[in-house]
């Protein structure tokens, strides 16, 4: 075995380096997680690093019974579920025809989509549009902006193009319509890609907060990320009134809210990791 001493050292340091990388990535989570489970006193005096001191679960109890948190959670779930379904549908419906080289007008339509990927009206016109359509302070203002991702559409289009023609030919001989080909032949094969893209959309919707910041002022419509954002901003403001320091968000409470908001992703993520990875590869390493 020609594992030279040099190589052994290399492997050794490689493992150390990558392990450190992993630790650095994990550390912020562990720190915040620990803080969320620690007593406020320990947190303020800066004693907490990666494990809880003065273990308590009161913070989580507060978080999960907090009306605003639960309401924002509901809003986020709604827009993620509805948004993903609608977005996925439209994306697929658009990708399929555009994957047919014979389609008349294909080039033009494709160009239009690419154009909007590069050039946009900008923040102000979009805001004014939402206002004109009376969509401000509605849940649709949170769903519509992310509804069509050209990038995702191109990935699916690519996938459809890679499906062997023979499959379609066989179906057509049986008399299947164009719709039929889509729904009965292509979609079933596309399940992994659909899962990936669906998950991409879901993550986009779940994490969105800026649209809410711009378009929504009603507390009942605040999605989770916006709620969290305001929580954090509030705690950053230097406390001028000592009386104020007594009430509202303690650091451990804030930490618990952060962990609670991340929980869905953390839980779902390990299972779906391979889908994400595949999606990126399909999308970027083309040709």
């Amino acid at each position: 075995m020609k594992n030279t001493k040099g190589e052994k050292i290399f492997y050794f340091f490689n493992y150390i380096f990558l392990a450190l990388l992993g630790v650095t990535t994990l550390f912020p989570f562990l720190n915040v997680l620990a803080k969320s489970l620690s007593s406020e006193k320990a947190v303020i005096s800066g004693k907490v690093s990666v494990y809880p001191i003065g273990l308590q679960f009161g913070t989580y109890k507060y978080v999960f019974t907090n009306d605003q948190f639960l309401n924002s959670l509901k809003v986020s779930i709604f827009i993620t579920v509805v948004g993903t379904l609608v977005a996925l549908a439209i994306t697929v419906f658009t990708a399929y025809p555009l994957s047919k080289p014979h389609l008349k007008g294909r080039k033009t339509i494709l160009l239009m989509y690419i154009f909007i990927m590069l050039f946009s009206g900008g923040l102000v016109p979009h805001y004014l549009l939402m206002r004109e359509f009376h969509l401000l302070n509605t849940v649709w203002s949170l769903i519509i902006p992310a509804m069509v991702s050209v990038y995702n559409m191109l990935i699916i289009k690519n996938f459809f193009e890679s499906v062997p023609e023979s499959l379609e030919e066989a179906a057509r001989i049986d008399g299947t319509s164009n719709f039929g080909v889509l729904f009965r032949i292509l979609l079933p094969i596309a399940k992994p890609v659909l899962a990936t893209i669906g998950l991409f959309y879901a993550v986009t919707y779940w994490n969105a907060f800026f649209e809410a910041m711009m378009y929504v002022s009603k507390p009942e419509l605040k999605p989770l990320q916006l709620y969290l954002y305001e929580l954090i901003k509030q705690s950053q403001k230097p406390i001028l009134d000592v009386d104020a320091a007594l009430n509202l968000n303690s650091e451990s409470l804030q930490s618990a809210t952060i962990i609670a908001s991340t929980a869905p992703i953390l839980v779902v993520y390990p299972f779906l990791q391979k889908y994400f990875v595949k999606g990126i590869i399909v999308g970027s390493v083309k040709g």
Binding site: G6, F10, Y11, F17, L21, G22, T25, L26, P28, N31, V32, S45, G46, S49, T91, F93, T94, Y96, P97, L98, I109, M112, I116, L118, F119, S120, G121, G122, L123, V124, P125, L128, L129, I144, M147, V148, L154, N178, N207, A208, F209, F210, Q225, L228, Y229, I232, Q236, E251, Q254, I258, S261, T262, I265, L266, Q273, V277, I280, I281, V285, K286
Partner: protein, 308 residues
Amino acid sequence: MSTNTKIKKQNNWTYFKKNYEFYLLLLPGLLFIALFKFLPMGGLVIAFKDFNIFDGILASPWVGLEHFKAVFSDEYFFQVFRNTLLISTYKIAFTFPLPIIVAILLNEVKNMTFKKNIQTVIYLPHFLSWVIVQGLFVTILGSTGIVNQILEPFISEPIRFYMDKSLFRSILVGTSAWKEVGWGTIVYLAAITGIDPQLYEAAVVDGANKWKQIIHITIPSITSTIVLMFILRLGYVLEAGFSQVIVMYNSTVYEVADIIGTYVYRTGLGQMNFSYGTAVGIFNSVVAFVLVISGNLMCKKALGKSIW
């Protein structure tokens, strides 16, 4: 009407009858982009007007290039533009090479479980929103946070990372790296796995050690991927990470952290300076557009591939 056009018309009609389903499927998407992507572009006219939101677009008077002149004579705008370029450049310089290096290192790992676990861990931050990331780092970098705790014996008073003008850009770059480096390795890893193993075998026979193998085989083979990713990245230089900045910045650090996007938000919407904000936005979009198109052209020339 000549016979040729008649036949063409008939062919078109038959084509449409046969393939109407496709057009039907395209309909929702097209409607969407017509209403929500193209229509707002019409709103760009307000950059040439003195827009008042209560009077509406039509009633607002024309002012020609007045707002654009204001943009280019505004000292602060140039500061903002400078910030955008600087932050983007720092980010590219620091976070572009990292995924490549990590991918190469990861590839060398023989223990599959270790490799998979590390990958799972480092991909994760990409899926968190910037709000969450900010939440995590604001506690760590706070006055009583762990970083200041560790530094305590060496400094006289806690470092206020978020309020310090000289440190803030580094915070932006650092947290951006934390979030995206892991995810960025995927593309390179995929490219590396595509390398023909025979190349390595030949090298080993020639007596090349690990280091030489990496330099002479791995890196050259993924060069085209690297170049592609780099050019792509350049096209988005003006983005500089809007979601990140708007979550993380505060008035103390506006001077160094304000980028075009946040500036447009604050002045365009926040100060109700709609026309001005739109003018800045147009400038931004035009420059970005040019950059991406040139990026793509360079790509075509260099590698024969187009982004789309």
